[in-house]
Symmetry: C2
Subunit: 198 residues, 2 copies
């Protein structure tokens, strides 16, 4: 049981209530399905090639999901900050090995839930199906939008579009990771950031 003033409890209630109705009693029970984990910056919590058995919810801090290219360089495909979920959904669904690594970009506090616990959670709280349906829909819609941007925008537009939409990332996330995520070189990103400042 979390005390009523617990920041984790308050954050989870406030977040879920943006999508569905959840009272404190529900939230207390929902939280019993999760494990709280405190991560150090650069800590890796999921590895490509290992069974994808967890879904992660970020309470604070930032995670990124990446893979290692055939040329041996890391490529970030996704970031997750406060109140975002992160996992290799396809691998989690098919109960297969993940294609991606998940690493803390900053010290982070997360909730982790196993595939089986999530299924139990959804059986006990079917209204969470609606919550996950909506956030998956937003995530899917956003990734289609990203594909459009990759195809349509100039490198400079891709960068400024991203930091306009997610200004906090520019402060919190190392340039080379933003570059990796946007498919740009770190050199190019520092060049256009210089442009912007001047």
């Amino acid at each position: 049981m979390y005390p009523p003033e617990s920041p984790i409890l308050k954050q989870v209630i406030a977040h879920l209530n943006k999508f569905i109705e959840v009272n404190e009693k529900d939230a207390q029970e929902i939280l019993t399905f999760f494990e709280v984990r405190n991560l150090k910056k650069k800590e890796i919590i999921a590895e490509a090639g290992s069974l994808c058995n967890f879904n992660y919810f970020v309470l604070s801090g930032c995670l990124h999901m990446y893979f290692i290219t055939d040329k041996g360089t890391e490529r970030t495909v996704q970031f997750a900050i406060e109140n975002w979920w992160m996992t290799d959904y396809l691998a989690l669904h098919h109960r297969t090995a993940s294609d991606f690594f998940i690493q803390a970009v900053e010290d982070a506090q997360i909730l982790s839930i196993t595939y089986d616990k999530q299924e139990q959670l959804l059986t006990q709280f079917p209204k969470l199906e609606r919550y996950f349906r909506i956030i998956n829909q937003i995530s899917y819609g956003s990734s289609i939008r990203k594909v459009k941007h990759i195809y349509n925008l100039s490198k400079e537009e891709i960068y400024f579009n991203f930091i306009t939409q997610f200004p906090e990332f520019e402060q919190r996330v190392p340039q080379f990771l933003i570059a990796s995520f946007l498919g740009l070189t770190p050199e190019y990103v520092s060049e256009i950031r210089g442009k912007k400042r001047s």
Copy 2:
């Protein structure tokens, strides 16, 4: 009411039962929320810039979702064949104008549902939240996987990876659309297809 032997009824029951339990009575009621539309090849059913108010389920045929680049060329971001859904999910969620056009690649038969009807449907059949949650999860996971492929694979690998995963597309979809979807030139696609045959 659809007669029990109706192909549409049978298809919807068979498809939904891959994810949730739906009997014929449910399916009959579920179908009352949808409109059946028969589309001619090249018919456009959704336009970029207009309010995105529909979600589409493909009964037969093939749709593609595309946008027109600043240079004036069409770029396909998604295909939908039998039992796939298609809409601009982000625009549908935010009740805003769509970023994309949706067009029939072949003569097609689809089910269309408005945003409001879908909300009513989900209220009346909450178990469909689970169904949509799962397919959105698979779609989102697949689009992340696609971003990985764009970053990691050679042009040739991107093409063969796609036609291996979705062999029917090579027969059904014009080369220039597959090229557009994969971010390749039509010339390049016909070149590697030639390679494959030889």
